[in-house]
Structures are given as structure tokens and as C-alpha cells.
């Protein structure tokens, strides 16, 4: 992802250390990267390792706590290595929290939100990036401004509206408000501004394609890499969403996060079973992360450069 700038020639040394940089391959070791930065030293790696451990440890400990019985988890000193009760705890969590149904619900919710977001945000992003129409600037500002409105401001009436139209407690009440989001529109716009040359659109027009046809055969192929990233970001967000689903859904029909919240709120919850539930809810996303980490990292860095 690092764009190495072509500064091979006579880049002044910012580092006080490399006096005897030999010619040939060794010289390039002190080449300036993007932003004129230099190679990290041991301190950099140590600091990153400490932060990295801090990032990973709570997740590792979720696994540890999920594999002991509750007494051991709450004991002092706490366990630091996994125990042997993982499978039985997972089973208990599965039954007690209705996790099977919750996972299916989460897949439906996050899946449909992701598909709809991709479709609508690509269309809107394309319009904002490449089409000329009256009010484009103002409307784009309006889109970005909606990012600053917390959901708390509208949950009370939203709850009443949903019950009014018969979606009270149903998955629709969670899916529909999030079908298309400002971040996605902005993200696709940013990407298409650069990735889709006007020449391509013009060529299609000369060939006699109407707008929808252009979207289908020119815009969508060009947008595919960004759509993959946006898809993953959207899925992560929808899967992890807690506040509104917790208010809107009930015990019989929860998403996995809601089920987890209810499991922990139950009368005297067994902590190792709660942790087993937490593990189940997190594992699918961690897998996505391990496989697509690079793209997700790149996506966050692209999408957020400018506010």
C-alpha cells in the first residue's frame, strides 16, 4: 500500500546514522519512502510489538476464558493458557443464547445490508463523481453532514414507526434504516473520481449506451475493487451493530450481538459461557480479517483521507 516515491536520486539523508552507506544494493536501504520517512529502528518494532500485543491479548483471553469453567475464570490468579472445556462451553452458549437462530439472523441482516449498500452506494457514488447535475455540491455536503447525526436522536420515534408498520421486533426494522449509508456514498465517490476515466464513459456513450447500460458495463467493473472493500467494511459494521438492534429486536428474534447482550444480562450468567458466546460472535469476522486484512486496512486508509 505504501506508494514509494521515485526519490532514488540524491535524496538527502534525514537519518544521522548512515555515514558509510555503500554504493549498490545497500544504498537503497536508506531510500526515502512516501512522506520522506526512514526505516524503523529496533525501538519502532518494540513499540509496535507492545501495541500489537495489547490489541490481540483481549481476544486471546476471550478464548482462554471460554475454555475454562467459570470458577477457574474468576479465580486469582486468572488463567493465561487455554483449558479443556472449550467445546462444552461453546455448546452451552449455543443452546442458552439461541445462537443458532441469532447467527442466521445476523447473516441475513448483515448480508442484505451489504448487498444493498454496495448497489445503492455505487450508483450514488458514480453520480456524485462523474455526472453533472444541478445541486451536486450541496447534495454531497448534505450526504456527509448526515454522518454527524447519532442514531440516538431518532430511535424513540423509529421504534414507534416500526411497530406501526408491523416491523416491530422484526429483522426489517434493523435492515431498512441501514440500506444505504453516507460513508459508502462518499467512499465510492472518492474511488470512482480517480478510477473511472471520462474517456471510458464517453466511449460508451458514443457507442450508443444509455446511462443504466453504462453503469452496468463500465461503472460496475471499474468499481469492483472498491466494492469489495466497502462490502467488507459494511459487513463488519452491520455484524457488530449493537445499539439499535438491541432496542428493536427481542429475545426470540435476536442478532448475535443482541443475543450476546441478553446472555450476559441473564440472571447470574456463567462467565465462561458468556465468553464462549463472545468467541462465536467474533470468530467469523476475525477470519475475514485474517484473509482480507490488507484490503480492509487499505480501504480505511483510502476512505478517510479527507473529511
Amino acid at each position: 500500500m505504501t506508494t514509494t516515491s521515485p526519490t532514488k536520486t540524491a535524496a538527502p539523508d534525514l537519518d544521522p546514522a548512515p555515514p558509510a552507506a555503500p554504493a549498490g544494493p545497500g544504498r537503497s536501504r536508506f531510500k526515502l519512502g512516501a512522506g520522506g520517512q526512514l526505516k524503523g529502528g529496533p525501538f519502532t518494532y518494540i513499540a509496535l510489538a507492545v501495541v500489537g500485543l495489547g490489541s490481540i491479548f483481549p481476544l486471546y483471553w476471550t478464548l482462554v476464558a471460554a475454555s475454562h469453567d467459570q470458577e477457574r475464570v474468576l479465580d486469582s490468579p486468572p488463567p493465561l493458557l487455554p483449558g479443556g472445556r472449550l467445546m462444552s462451553n461453546l455448546e452451552a452458549a449455543w443452546e442458552q443464547a439461541n445462537l443458532g437462530k441469532a447467527i442466521v439472523n445476523s447473516v441475513i441482516v448483515a448480508g442484505s445490508i451489504t448487498v444493498a449498500t454496495l448497489f445503492f452506494c455505487t450508483l450514488a457514488g458514480y453520480a456524485f463523481a462523474k455526472m453533472r447535475f444541478r445541486g451536486r455540491g450541496g447534495l454531497m455536503t448534505a450526504v456527509i453532514a448526515t454522518l454527524t447525526i447519532p442514531p440516538q436522536l431518532s430511535v424513540v420515534p423509529l421504534f414507534m414507526i416500526m411497530s406501526d408498520i408491523g416491523w416491530g421486533g422484526e429483522l426489517e426494522s434493523v435492515i431498512f434504516p441501514t440500506l444505504v449509508g453516507a460513508f459508502g456514498v462518499f467512499f465510492m465517490r472518492q474511488y470512482l473520481l480517480e478510477a473511472l476515466p471520462y474517456e471510458l464513459i464517453e466511449a460508451a456513450k458514443v457507442d450508443g449506451a444509455h446511462n443504466l447500460r453504462i453503469v452496468w458495463s463500465v461503472v460496475l467493473p471499474a468499481a469492483r475493487p472498491a466494492m469489495m472493500v466497502l462490502g467488507m467494511l459494511t459487513f463488519v459494521q452491520a455484524w457488530n451493530d449493537f445499539f439499535w438492534p438491541f432496542l428493536a429486536l427481542n429475545q426470540q428474534n435476536p442478532t448475535i450481538q443482541v443475543a450476546l447482550g441478553q446472555l450476559s444480562a441473564s440472571y447470574t450468567p456463567d462467565q465462561s459461557i458468556v465468553m464462549a458466546g463472545a468467541l462465536i460472535s467474533t470468530l467469523p469476522l476475525l477470519l475475514v480479517f485474517v484473509v482480507f486484512g490488507k484490503q480492509i486496512v487499505g480501504g480505511i486508509m483510502t476512505g478517510a483521507v479527507k473529511g
Binding site: G40, S76, R136, I161
Partner: protein, 330 residues
């Protein structure tokens, strides 16, 4: 990928489309093309505005109406005009003011260290590193963790007896910190959860902005004799100012919404009221408790409007600070 060229969109696309429409096919077809060109962009952005209008803007205004009525969870279709009573009720409730101040305190002690750490972390990641993607992915993992999972794990870590943290602290001679029940310790615990989840994310945003800083700025600075630290202060930070402001706005709005962390820190009935003495009750918890636990939606809507006022205040402060910073920079 991280570098963005300035505003390509400002370029006007070469016109032609409809002008180059088929000749002799008749005016009707040309008119259809023109219509297509005119309406299509609006059709493409319409879904966003429809969804936002129906589930964002309309409820937001509706909230104001509910705040002036008596609406109970038990009978959602009945409402009774009560005027400013709901507002009077919450404004006279000391618990409301506690939650305002809690939200503010937790917001500050989670946002400030978070963004400072993210800045430092981005600086480290901006070095040429072995396995740079690996490091970036690792520090972003907490982002893939849900509020619920994070809050539940940290609830165990922060347990007063048998908790992981107190066990570690005991080696340093600190014993028996009651994280959940203390006024400051509980707020710190919640902030730690927030910081853990969002530092890596913000670091990546800063990193992207850092990589967009032109290298010659650093070259010029080093020719002027600036050392690393001075370069960081005089080149990196000023170049990042818009990004920093952006992250401040986003994190501040985020901290106004804190819900899952306090709800699940101790769980159960304690979670729903933000602790035995409301010591970590946030505005969202207060709203939830009034609306969903007690079942009075009118006051809950009034709380939502109080949050809106706070949001506008924050925006105003941001604007003033931003102006001040810009003025002093020139």
C-alpha cells in the same frame, strides 16, 4: 492508494453524449436521451435520500413531537399533549445531569489519549517497516471486535477480585482496585474499552494523511537543520491538521453515543442504570433506561433533544477551536 489527487471532479467532463446522438433517428429519440441524462443522476442518488428521509430525518423531527407528549411503551398508539413537562422532568432530575457530566468526562478521557496514541502509532507505522501490512492489520483487529464482545471481555479483566488487571497490578503493590464501583475507576475502565477499540482505526487514518505529506517538505526542513522531533512538530502535525480535526469531530460524536460499554461493564440491572450510583451512566443509557426499562418514551425523546443540543454545542466549540487554530497558524 492513499494519495488523493485534488478534486478531479472539478474538471468538467467533455460534453458530447447527447449532442452526438444518432442523426436522422428523429427528435423523439434525442429527447429521450436528454431526459435520461438529466434524470439519471437524481435517480441514482435518490435511494440515499429516501432512506435517510424515512429513517433519519423524519424520526428526528418526530422526536420533537414525542418530547411534548405522554407516550408509554405499553400503549404506543396513544399520546397525550403535555407540553414542556417532559423537559422539565429530565432537567430537574439529578440523574440526567450526572449522565451529562459522565458522558462529557468519559468522552474527554477516552478521546484525548486515544487520538494522541493514534498519532504516535501512525508516526511509527510511517517508517519503512518489515511486514508493514502485518502491523497495520494487527493494530486494526480491535476494530473487527463488536462492542458487546469487547465490553464483556474487559468486564472480566476489570473485575475487582480475580480480575486480570488487579492481579497484574498486585505485582506493583497496587491492591484491590474496585474498577466497576469507583467514580473515576469505572469511567477509566470504560474509556479503556473505547481506546482499545478505536486507536488502531484512527492511527490508520493519520497514517494515510501522513503519507500524503510531500517528501520535499521534510527535505526542506532537514536542510534547515530540523531534527526528527522538530520535523514531526513543524511539518507532520500542521499538515495533518484537517485530518486531526476530522477525527476529533468523529470521536467526539462517537463518545456522545457510548452505550454498549457502560451497559455491559457490570451487566444486569447495574448496567441499565450505569452503576450503583450512576457513576458511569451515559446519556444513551439514561435514554434507554427511561424509554425501554421504565417505558416512558416522552422523557426519552426529550433526552434525545438534549443530545441534539449537546451535539450543536460540540459543533460550535469545534468551529471556534478550528478558527482559533487556523488564525494562530498563519
Amino acid at each position: 492508494m492513499a494519495t488523493t489527487t485534488p478534486a478531479r471532479g472539478a474538471h468538467t467532463p467533455p460534453t458530447g453524449g447527447s449532442g452526438a446522438a444518432p442523426h436522422g433517428r428523429g427528435a423523439w429519440r434525442t429527447r429521450l436521451w436528454r431526459f435520461d441524462d438529466k434524470v439519471s443522476p437524481y435517480a441514482y442518488i435518490a435511494p440515499f435520500f429516501l432512506v435517510f428521509g424515512a429513517f433519519g430525518l423524519y424520526p428526528l423531527l418526530y422526536t420533537g413531537w414525542i418530547a411534548l407528549h405522554r407516550v408509554e411503551m405499553t400503549s404506543l398508539d396513544q399520546s397525550e399533549w403535555v407540553g414542556w413537562d417532559n423537559f422539565a422532568k429530565i432537567l430537574q432530575d439529578s440523574e440526567f445531569w450526572t449522565s451529562v457530566s459522565n458522558t462529557f468526562v468519559i468522552g474527554v478521557i477516552s478521546t484525548v489519549p486515544q487520538l494522541l496514541m493514534a498519532l504516535g502509532l501512525a508516526h511509527l507505522l510511517n517508517y519503512k517497516l518489515r511486514a508493514s501490512t502485518f502491523w497495520r492489520t494487527v493494530i486494526l483487529t480491535p476494530y473487527a471486535t463488536s462492542v458487546a464482545t469487547a465490553a464483556l471481555v474487559f468486564a472480566l479483566v476489570f473485575r475487582a477480585d480475580g480480575g486480570l488487571l488487579n492481579w497484574v497490578l498486585s505485582f506493583f503493590g497496587v491492591d484491590g482496585v474496585d474498577w466497576g464501583n469507583g467514580h473515576w475507576t469505572s469511567k477509566i475502565a470504560i474509556s479503556v474499552i473505547v481506546i482499545w477499540r478505536w486507536t488502531g482505526y484512527n492511527a490508520l487514518i493519520y497514517l494515510a494523511a501522513m503519507q500524503a505529506v510531500p517528501a520535499d517538505l521534510y527535505e526542506a526542513a532537514s536542510l534547515d537543520g530540523a531534527n526528527r522531533w522538530q520535523q514531526f512538530l513543524k511539518v507532520t502535525i500542521p499538515s495533518l491538521r484537517p485530518t486531526i480535526l476530522f477525527t476529533i469531530v468523529i470521536s467526539t460524536i462517537g463518545s456522545l453515543q457510548l452505550f454498549g460499554e457502560p451497559l455491559l461493564l457490570q451487566g444486569g440491572t447495574l448496567g441499565a442504570v450505569g452503576g450503583s450510583e450512576h457513576q458511569y451512566e451515559t446519556l444513551s443509557i439514561y435514554l434507554f433506561n427511561y424509554g425501554w426499562k421504565l417505558g416512558h418514551l416522552g422523557p426519552a425523546a426529550a433526552v434525545a433533544w438534549a443530545m441534539l443540543v449537546l451535539l450543536l454545542l460540540i459543533a460550535l466549540i469545534n468551529w471556534i477551536v478550528g478558527r482559533y487554530v487556523r488564525k494562530n497558524a498563519v
